[in-house]
């Protein structure tokens, strides 16, 4: 496969509602920004680009089938090739990887991935219903289909198994909301305390409103190119930001639609099939896991995301990463819930299974230089969701995974200050980062690794 570079990106302002524009015009905001950041005008880029991949989750929200072609049409990209990608909450992450494949395979030299969702067209409870239709409509949905309820069940099990606390989860909310304070694209930019999070209205015990991301209208776009594509864009007058940002690893995993159907495997199966390279190689960690299993832990059950672990291991292997916490400078992960950020720390090997709660409250995943008003025991090691994540930026589903891609590109280009008008969220000397996109109750998960060339 050929090297693939993520050259530029754009994000529309994520907002509770954008009635001022149709979805196509919101996509164009992000798309135009990405083109302008290359220093090209619209007709020049249109001539240079080979095709696209479109990302949106639900036909229900827009009450429009084939919305992808409407965006393609509006962007002036017809008759160039395109297709739509859909995989629940992971739609944007899957789209990112499909565009990568278009370049890596040699099918295209310049490809744009764009994604969107306009969720404000229905009331919140109807939106919850649409989202819950992404659970088995014979068995799970009719019992009380509600994603916050599903995630709350997972975390009660996590709390029971590992002693995870609501305060540890609330630390994630405090972190992500305050990070977003410095991100002008974010929907919710607030300073909260642990008490604020716990005292906000209970949605699904023990998750409160501030533990949960919000529905949003928004769009994002990322432009990818091969080496030949970069030459073509440069010849057309593009000002390509150096050093380049290369996508060095992609991974995906899946799991059963009904979370209750997931297995509870024994220790040996966990170590051989799911442990990270680092976990397998550590006597201490194998002993730790042996003790967990002796206490009754089984994997993945409903407390862990096997799809996320599978995707992470696959991406790490391709990118040559064996110690993710030490070798990643930041992670933008799918924090639809504070609890799922805690669970995902474990899936991605930033800490061991069972240690996500203490890791969340330790400070290791926080940004340096920001006063969160918390007593953190550790210095930042690998900021997680420096952008504010889904919890604070919002979650316009088809755009979300691409938004992570845009923010990752900007981190690695060292251009956060330029794009945000504030460099507080710039991770110093960021050389390598990961983006993580997650669907359903952990049904599709994608992980992509981006690196500054010459890293």
């Amino acid at each position: 496969m050929r090297p693939v570079y993520a050259l530029s990106g754009g994000v529309s302002k994520f907002a509770k509602a954008r009635p001022d524009k149709t979805f196509q015009a919101i996509v164009k905001e992000a798309y135009d920004y990405a083109i302008a950041d290359l220093g090209l005008d619209f007709p020049t880029f249109t001539k240079a680009v080979d095709g696209s991949v479109a990302s949106y989750f639900s036909d229900h929200f827009s009450r429009q089938l084939m919305a992808g072609i409407m965006a393609q049409d509006y962007l002036g990209l017809v008759p160039k090739p395109s297709h739509r990608v859909e995989g629940g909450g992971a739609t944007g992450g899957l789209c990112f990887q499909e565009a990568w494949k278009s370049i890596a395979s040699g099918h295209m030299d310049v490809c744009v991935a764009y994604g969107f969702e306009t969720m404000s067209h229905v009331e919140t409870w109807k939106g919850n219903e649409f989202i819950a239709l992404a659970s088995d409509v014979s068995w799970d949905y009719p019992v009380g289909g509600f994603y916050s309820g599903y995630y709350a069940m997972m975390v009660t099990r996590h709390m029971k198994e590992y002693g995870t606390t609501v305060e540890q989860m609330a630390a994630v909310s405090v972190k992500n909301h305050l990070n977003a304070y410095h991100n002008p694209y974010a929907q919710k930019r607030n300073r909260y305390t642990i008490d604020d999070v716990r005292n906000s209205p209970m949605v699904a015990w023990p998750l409160t409103r501030l533990d949960i991301c919000v529905m949003s209208d928004g769009a994002a776009a990322v432009i990818f190119a091969s080496e030949e594509g970069i030459e073509r864009l440069a010849a057309a007058g593009a000002d390509i930001t150096q050093p380049l940002v290369k996508v060095t690893g992609i991974g995906r995993g899946t799991d059963a639609m009904r979370m209750g159907d997931r297995p509870h495997v024994d220790y040996e199966s966990f170590i051989s099939d799911y442990a990270t390279e680092q976990e397998r190689d550590s006597d201490d960690t194998r002993a730790y896991y042996r003790e967990l299993w002796e206490r009754g832990t089984r994997y993945p059950g409903v407390h862990s995301f096997r799809a996320g672990r599978t995707a992470g291991n696959m991406a790490y292997a391709q990118a040559g990463i064996s110690d993710p916490l030490a070798e990643l400078d930041f992670v933008e992960l799918h924090d639809a819930y504070t609890s799922s950020e805690v669970q995902t720390y474990e899936d991605l090997g930033l800490c061991r299974y069972g240690e996500g709660g203490p890791f969340a409250a330790s400070g290791k995943a926080f940004m340096p230089g920001i006063d969160y008003g918390l007593d953190l025991t550790d210095d930042p090691v690998c900021p997680v969701n420096p952008s504010g994540g889904l919890i604070a930026c919002g979650h316009p589903v088809g755009a979300t995974g691409l938004m992570q891609g845009v923010f990752a590109v900007w981190q690695l280009q060292n251009t956060i200050g330029k794009h945000f008008g504030d460099d507080t969220l710039q991770v110093a000397d960021a050389r390598r980062g990961a983006i993580h996109s997650h669907a359903g109750t952990g049904t599709y998960v994608s992980v992509s690794i981006l690196e500054k060339e010459g890293n």
Partner: protein
């Protein structure tokens, strides 16, 4: 209404006639770029004929107050929510009756909010039930516990199935109560 914010709904007045410049001169046309958007309501309603297919006997069982599950005939791997075929061997599964087996709460939550269809039920307790000798979990409603006393102590608690007197042919024909 004191300082509490009113819940917003999509509904509004029907308006006849929309403000628009009397003359479409260049200034007036340019001003159209500064208009707020027009939003209209669109109704959408569908009745589906949904088939439970190979899972249908489970619903027949529940309407007759028996809780069925399925298992691989050779490995014995059992599914609390039935599957027509085993995910490991690919073999067709067989039906088993687990009504009287020991059941416990594996995980739970109290939903104070929800999808539109279930808002009238809130607050309600959702739970995943673990059955003795069954490898997967069953999603259900848990009745008979005080939602205000939600506690991790509920996990591991023994429960038993109850059945609606008049079946609705839905998975909610069965629910669980503490023993």
């Amino acid at each position: 209404m004191s300082d509490a914010r009113r819940d917003e709904t999509l509904g509004g007045f029907i308006v006849h006639g929309v403000p628009f410049p009397i003359e479409t001169d260049p200034d007036a046309l340019a001003f159209l770029k500064r208009m707020t958007p027009i939003q209209i309501e669109q109704e959408y309603s569908i009745t589906y004929l949904h088939s439970y297919g190979q899972d249908s006997p489970w619903f027949a069982g529940a309407s007759n107050k028996r809780l069925l599950a399925s298992q691989d005939p050779e490995s014995g791997y059992a599914y609390a929510t039935p599957r027509g075929h085993d995910m490991y061997s690919g073999r067709e599964t067989e039906w088993i009756d687990i009504t009287d087996r020991t059941a416990t709460v594996h995980a739970f939550t109290v939903c104070y909010f929800g999808s539109e269809e279930f808002l009238p039920d809130t607050p309600f307790v959702l739970a995943l039930i673990e059955y003795e000798g069954v490898n997967t979990l069953f999603l259900t409603r848990l009745i008979g516990l005080d939602h205000r006393q939600a506690s991790l102590e509920w996990i591991g608690r023994e429960v038993q199935p109850r059945f609606l007197r008049n079946s609705k042919l839905k998975p909610t024909d069965v629910y669980f109560v503490p023993t």
